[in-house]
Amino acid sequence: MKRTIHKSALLAATAAAVLIAACGAPGTSGTAKTGKSQDLASPATKSGTLSIITKFADPKYAPFFVDVAKAYESANPGVKVNLQQVGDQPYKDKIRVLSASKSLPDIYFSWAGDFANKFIRGGLATDLTSVVGPSSSWGKTFSPAALKAFEYQGKNYGVPIDLDAKYMVYNKVAFQKAGLSGPPTSLADLLSDCGKLKAAGYTPIAFGNQFGWPAIHYLTQLNTFDVPAATLAKDYNPSTGEFTDPGYVKALEQFQSIVKECSNPSANGLSHEAAQATFLNGKAAMHYLELLEFPAITTKGGATKEVANNWDFFRLPAASDAPGDKNALTGAPDGFMVNQGSKNAALAVDFLKFMTNLQNAQKMTKQIGYPSPVQGSATEANSVPQQRKALEDMASASAYAIWLDTVTNADVANAFLAGAEGIANGSQTPQQVIQAVQKAAAKVKKQS
C-alpha cells in the first residue's frame, strides 16, 4: 500500500513537472513595445471576425453597442462582430487578464490618462495618428480636446466615444427658498451658501462616497485650481511625481471644508446613487455629478417634477486666489483602442469609423443619453437643454482635468482615494494624506 502511495505521488509530481514545463512561464512571453506598423487604410473587401470588448454591459447602455455591431454586420455581410460587454468594475479585472495573457481583442475600451498609457507603454495599442490624428478627415469630426485626451508623446492611440465632465447641479427652488440669487462664483461663496441652504432646511450638497471615487472627483478639480498646471503635469507623471507643492494640501483642506460645511454626514457609508436620490427627491440642494448622469434628473430618471423642471448646473468654483488653471474642467472622454497585435487592425479602424459617424453619434446620445465627442451630434431632438448647455461650456474649458484615479499611477491614486475617505470621516488630516501620497509617488518614481 505504501509503495502504491509513493508511486502515485511520484506520478503526480512527474505530471506536474511535465505540465509546468509544457505550459512555459506566463508573463514572460512579451510583444515588442514598438510593433510592426499597421496598414490602417480601409480594406477593399471587408471580411473576417472582429472582436470587441466594452465596459457597457449595463442594460441601459448595452443595446446601443449591440445595435451598432448588428448594423455593421448588415452593411458588411462578410464581417462577423464578436461583441463582449462587461460591467464597469469587472472590466478593470478582465482587461488586465486579457493583457497579461496576450489575448486582447481587436478593439478594447479604455479610460483616458495613465490607464490608456499603460497599454501604449506595454506595446498593446496601435498608433492611430495616420487615420484619426487632428489633421485627418476622421479626426476633424471630433472635438479637439477629446481627441487630445488619448494622445501620448504626440501620437493618437484612441478614438473617443463619449464626453464627460463634472458639474454641480442645483435645485433652483431650494436656492430661491434660501434667498440665493444664483450659483456661487467662488469657493468662499459656495461655503457661505451652504449655511443659508442648511438654514432653509436643505442638505446643501448630497454626497455619497461609499467606494471613494466621488471624493476623487472633487480632488481632481481642486488640485487643478490650486496647483500650477506645469507642476500638476510633472507630478501626475509617474517618473517625476513628488506632490510637494503646497497647493495639494490646500486642495485637501478645501475638500475638508466642503465636507464639513456642505455635505450630509456619513458620506462614506452612502453610495453615490443613494445620495443622488436625496437630490432627486428635493431634500438636497446640490449634487456633484457627471454630465453622463444628467438624464437621471428627469421624471423618467426618478426626479420629482419640481426638481426635474427646476434645475441647472455650474462648475465647482475655485478659491479666488487659486494659482492653478481656474478654467480647467474635470472630465474626460472614454474611448476605444486598437490592439497592436490585431490581424484585423484596418477592419477595426473601419468599424470605429462606422461607430462614430454622425448618425451613430446622434443615435447614442438619443438612445443612452451619452454626449458624443463628434461635433454637431447633440441636437434638440436627442438631448435635454442642460446637456447642450454643458457641451457648450465644455468647449470653453481651457483644458480637461482627467480623473485623478486614472490620470495618475494607481498607487498614487489609491493613496489619494484612501486619504480622501479619511478626510470625509474625519479620521485623517490633509497633512497625513499628502504624506501618504508623497510616499506612494516616491515608490512609483523608483519603479519607473
Binding site: A12, N268, L270, A418, Q447
Partner: protein, 295 residues
C-alpha cells in the same frame, strides 16, 4: 498479467482526476510561488526577478498587517458564532424545541445560507445605511440612538459590519451540519445520561460535545479557512474601505493585482494565504486523527 492489467486500469480511472488537480490546483500553486519572486504587471512585457523583495514589502506594509489582523478577527468571531453558537443552537433545536417547531426553525435558520453573497451584501448595505438603515432605526426605537453609527463608513466599525453579515448568513448552515451530526449520536447515550440524573446542560457538555468532535473539527476547518478566504462580502459592502480599514488578505491581493498592477506582490500575498490556510487545515486534521471518538 491480470494484476498488471488491474494496475493499469486503476491508473486509467485515476488519471483524469490527477490531471485536473495538477492543471487547476498544483500547477497554479507552484507557478504562483514562482511569480512571487518577480516584479511584473499585466501590461509589462518583461518581468524582473526581485528575489524576496515582494515578501519584504509585505512585511513592511501596514495595510498587509491590518488585512491579516482583519482575517484573524474574522476567524475568531466566526468561530464564536459559527461553531460555538451554532453548536448550542443545534443542541437546543434537537433536545429542547418541540418536534413540530424544529423543522420550521431549521428552515428559517438555513434560509440566509441560500441567499447569494452579493444579494446579502447589498441587503445589509441597506440595513447599515446611515440615513434610512434598519439597524440605526432599531437602535433609536429601543432608546439606544446614541449607538447609531455610519457602520460601513466608519473605519472602526466597517469590518465588524461585514463580519456581522457573514455570521447572519452562515450560522444556520453550520447549525444544520451540527443537527445532522447530533441525530447520528445513539439515543441510548442520552437515555443513560438521563437515568444518571444529568440535566440538559450536563448532557450537552458530557455527551453531545465529545461525540461531535469530528464534525466540530470539520466546521472549525471550514470556518477558519473561510475566514482567510473571505472576499465577496468585503468587495460588495466596502471594497476594503474606508481608508483600507476593512481590507482582508484576499481583497488586498486583488487590489494589488488588478488596481495597482503589482502582480508580483499580489502573488506573494497569495502564497502567504496558501501557507496560512494549508497550515490550519493540516494542524486540525492531525489533531482530529489523534482524538477520534468511535462508538
Amino acid at each position: 498479467m491480470n494484476r498488471q492489467i488491474e494496475r493499469w486500469r486503476t491508473w486509467v480511472w485515476v488519471l483524469p482526476a490527477v490531471v485536473l488537480l495538477v492543471v487547476f490546483v498544483y500547477y497554479p500553486i507552484v507557478d504562483n510561488i514562482r511569480l512571487s519572486f518577480f516584479s511584473w504587471s499585466a501590461f509589462s512585457t518583461s518581468p524582473a526577478f526581485v528575489g524576496l523583495d515582494n515578501y519584504t514589502t509585505a512585511a513592511t506594509d501596514p495595510v498587509f498587517w491590518h488585512s491579516l489582523w482583519n482575517n484573524v478577527l474574522y476567524a475568531v468571531i466566526s468561530l464564536i458564532f459559527q461553531v460555538g453558537l451554532a453548536l448550542v443552537l443545534a443542541a437546543v433545536l434537537e433536545e429542547v424545541v418541540h418536534q413540530r417547531l424544529r423543522g420550521i426553525l431549521r428552515t428559517i435558520y438555513f434560509i440566509p445560507a441560500t441567499i447569494s453573497i452579493t444579494v446579502a451584501g447589498i441587503l445589509f448595505s441597506f440595513v447599515y445605511n446611515p440615513q434610512i438603515g434598519l439597524l440605526n432605526r432599531a437602535l433609536g426605537a429601543v432608546g439606544l440612538g446614541s449607538l447609531a453609527q455610519d457602520w460601513l463608513g466608519n473605519p472602526q466599525t466597517a469590518i465588524f459590519g461585514v463580519i456581522g453579515m457573514s455570521q447572519w448568513q452562515s450560522i444556520g448552515y453550520t447549525a444544520v451540519l451540527f443537527v445532522v451530526a447530533i441525530q447520528r449520536i445513539p439515543r441510548e447515550l442520552y437515555e443513560a445520561a438521563k437515568v444518571d440524573g444529568a440535566g440538559h446542560v450536563r448532557t450537552f457538555l458530557s455527551v453531545t460535545i465529545p461525540l461531535l468532535r469530528e464534525m466540530t473539527t470539520l466546521v472549525v476547518i471550514l470556518t477558519m479557512s473561510g475566514a482567510f478566504l473571505v472576499f465577496n462580502e468585503i468587495m460588495v459592502m466596502t471594497a476594503g474601505g474606508p481608508s483600507n480599514s476593512s481590507q482582508v488578505l484576499n481583497t488586498w491581493l486583488y487590489h494589488n493585482a488588478f488596481l495597482t498592477d503589482d502582480m508580483g506582490y499580489a502573488s506573494a500575498i497569495g502564497t502567504v494565504i496558501f501557507v496560512i490556510t494549508f497550515s490550519i487545515s493540516a494542524a486540525q486534521i492531525l489533531i482530529t486523527r489523534r482524538r477520534r471518538v468511535q462508538w
